[in-house]
Amino acid sequence: MPKHELVLLKNMMQPGYTGSLADYEKTGGYQAMRNTLGKIAPTDVTTTVMKSGLRGRGGAGFPTGVKWGFLPKDYQGPRYLCCNADESEPGTFKDRQLMERDPHQLLEGIVLACYAIGAQSAYIYIRGEMVLGSKILERAIGEARAAGYIGKNILGTGITVDVWVHRGAGAYICGEETALLESLEGKRGLPRVKPPFPATHGLYNKPTVVNNVETLANLPHILSRGPEWFASIGSPPKSTGTRVFCVSGHVKRPGNYELPMGVTIRELVFEHAGGMRSDKPLKAFIPGGASAPFLTPDHLDVKLDFESVAAAGSMLGSGGVTVMEEGTSMVWAALRLMEFFYHESCGKCSPCREGSSWLVQTMRRIMAKRGQMQDLETLTDLCKNIAGRTVCAFGDAEVSPIMSTLKHWRHEYVTLIHEAEAANLIRPESVETRH
């Protein structure tokens, strides 16, 4: 038995649990909704979520209740909830599990969020590749609609919430909330300039909240067990609740592990994920998805909560923890991530569009032992001129693998360049030049 209580993964860990409506109801599913809709004022639901300290699980970690509170109070037109299920951050695979194994938990959270913000329509924007997940969600929506949990006049309360699944079509940037909205409107997924924020000018220019799958899945539990219960888990006051940590890379048992925020990386990797795959020691890890800077074994006792990881020079991000063993080339690892960012840059902002190409070319040159010492300055200079100079956070994300590996493993870059220089010395043309 796990020594920590499972919240989000609890149902699905029961033998025989299929995620059907009947299974979900047997575990107390939709009770939070029954006890909330029409019985607790929507503003009080928002207050409860604020008190719980729930912060967005998609990456940015913005307080959920506060985000809801930004919606204009007196606006009479339609409002929208968009569930961000475009899980595409390398190292992250928790939302997929939450959707495929317990879809009703998410749907209940969506209806509760819609009730709190006064939205009658919700779209689940799921990444296009997750065909199975979208089918499972559509089936669950059908079940919930037939049972009166979704649709017009939910449970006789007069409240209407409709939910639709919208499949993306393969673009990492659509996980950025404004790019998601553009994509949902049938356009290229290019991020919008903020402000205005989605809270006032979101989907179809209407007030909109965009929340991650894991964030929404927490809502039924917060409402049924109370904000104090949620706030007592993890690292209060700023990192409350559990987190589904995704562990990948060189560990014995990669997978999703739900643990209270504040667990150390050492415990997560060595107790839960079974430790290192081989006998080689841990060399590096990424604590929060591909956008988070790399950390070293010196950071193994850093607590996995928003503040502690930030203080260590990285970020908790999406909760995707990737572990690398001794012997892994950090230049290669950074290059692999850089190739991802180069491929996925949407092209809207010149620093990111041009810079990612330049970065990946320079990195490939160094990795192929054709680099020069000057390339390290070029990389640093490029990174400084990309970060903070783009419409969305993609620019900051794409420089983090290079900046952090240059910081901690600069000698590996230097070694590759020295090898390149040594190889150049014995080139016939080099010899001729010297004569």
Binding site: G128, Y204, E339
Partner: protein
């Protein structure tokens, strides 16, 4: 690495088949959104299901259905990697090459498929059965290395498993080795 379906086909414009064949489904898709253009990606998927890729004719027809210009449809279609603008093989093998899969052997998987099928990423076998693409992260890092073939995920790949999957697809058009829902970590199976 070139994506095999990223260039426009030679199809001619003007064909109108989607409305006649999928009229009811199109109406249902349109009913989900207050603004017609939101139905664009779902309709492009419909066109892809019909033809195996998105033809120019289909894009023109969709433009008409949504009261958009063909360039508006085209500019959206060209942005997304899952919308193929050129024919791909019956089985589109997409192997994840991102860091998390690469750490545990995706390059070997790609190399193995290259050897078995005689095609490099971006190419299709002569019989039109398989197209191989190296793609970026597919949210299955915990069960890496992995690949997606058409709608299905295949995870925790080994050379033997890849061989079996390719053989199954050749003979039956499907394989029981496809995975999902989400695979558990070895230690976390319910009831284990």
């Amino acid at each position: 690495m070139e994506h095999p379906g990223r260039h426009l086909s030679e199809e001619k414009w003007g064909e109108k088949v989607l409305k006649e064949k999928y009229g009811k489904e199109i109406e249902e898709i349109l009913s989900r959104y207050p603004v017609k253009r939101s139905a664009l990606i779902p309709l492009l998927y419909l066109a892809q299901r019909e033809h195996g890729y998105v033809t120019e004719a289909a894009m023109t027809e969709i433009a008409g259905l949504l009261k958009l210009t063909p360039p508006q449809v085209y500019e959206t279609a060209t942005f997304y990697t899952m919308l193929n603008l050129k024919k791909v093989g019956t089985h589109h093998i997409q192997v994840c090459k991102s860091l998390m899969c690469a750490l545990v052997g995706s390059d070997t998987v790609i190399g193995w498929i290259k050897t078995k099928l005689g095609i490099a990423p971006g190419e299709t076998t002569a019989d039109g059965l398989f197209t191989l693409t190296a793609v970026e992260c597919l949210a299955a890092c915990g069960t890496a290395p992995m690949m997606q073939i058409n709608d299905d995920y295949y995870e925790r790949l080994t050379e033997e498993k890849v061989d079996k999957i390719l053989a199954d697809l050749r003979t039956n058009g499907t394989s029981p080795l496809k995975s999902g829902p989400y695979m558990w970590p070895e230690s976390a199976k319910p009831g284990a």
